[in-house]
Symmetry: C2
Subunit: 190 residues, 2 copies
Amino acid sequence: MNNKIEEFKIKPLIEPKYVHPVKIEYKQNGKDKTWEAVRNFDSVSILIYHEEKKSFLLVKQFRPAVYLNDNSKKFTYELCAGLVDKDASLVQIAKEEIDEECGFDVPLKEIEKITSFYTNVGVSGGCQYLYYAKIDDSMKIHEGGGIHDEQIELMYLPIEEYKEFMYDETKAKTPGLMFAFMWFMENKLK
Amino acid sequence: MNNKIEEFKIKPLIEPKYVHPVKIEYKQNGKDKTWEAVRNFDSVSILIYHEEKKSFLLVKQFRPAVYLNDNSKKFTYELCAGLVDKDASLVQIAKEEIDEECGFDVPLKEIEKITSFYTNVGVSGGCQYLYYAKIDDSMKIHEGGGIHDEQIELMYLPIEEYKEFMYDETKAKTPGLMFAFMWFMENKLK
């Protein structure tokens, strides 16, 4: 995908819709403390393995927060993922994200929970629930790419290339994705 | 450590010192877009392995942002880590964090870079540089615990218990820590 970013401007956030900064005051073991944080949604992410292609299916997208920090990073490489921002089970949200972002219809019972972790313990404190799903072409229902003009690109990473990709620091990626690859190698590729 | 949390209060963040919310406006492939983010520091983290104890040395602390999200999580379990908030090399900051948080003086040349990743691509976009250091009791200089009343507790995790610990979801932890464990098992325990 051609990814042309122009007129990148940073302004104060006056009326937040998604990122709600808070000041926390508390006593820890009798001592007064304060902390600055943002309220954030929990999330689900899914390691997707395409059996016939022997490849992981990743999503590649422009992340303004990453680009703000390092403008050499015009893409990030991530697991298919989404916010827990509706009244549905975690695995149902995982299923819907695999549909919306990747265009595959995976039966609920075939989406396997791996574990959960906290992705940003300092500032946002959100929990991410990690799942695994195996796909094949019979499950394909559309081209994927996200909804509401998300401009998400799909990328198949052949599993024999995972290690080179994982340690390539020119490609911005998340530690959750890297953990998920290692989990797969240990648990699914025996 | 007894960890008594009282009078936990959440207030609007009026004058932030650390967490600076911003609104980003840009054009992506000709289309107007906006995004809400916070400006954040990059960070370093260090997987520390104590050779004689055959254990990882972890830090255990109260994280207000995690507790805000789930008040059953009174501790998080993390790699020794710190913000890149001063004019020093990354590896020097890593060395200082091992000293301040853990009380060990590790020679710079023995601190090994593993890789880097982005810990919160949606909101904060910070990069974390991951290191590895092997310690032994000859390097011990003080009890650790952090500076400025950080109330950081140290914990030795015997390596044979790493897997049970890693998949125990009652213990809040980061995906960077989980990836680092897997990296160690593959690269240092051959």
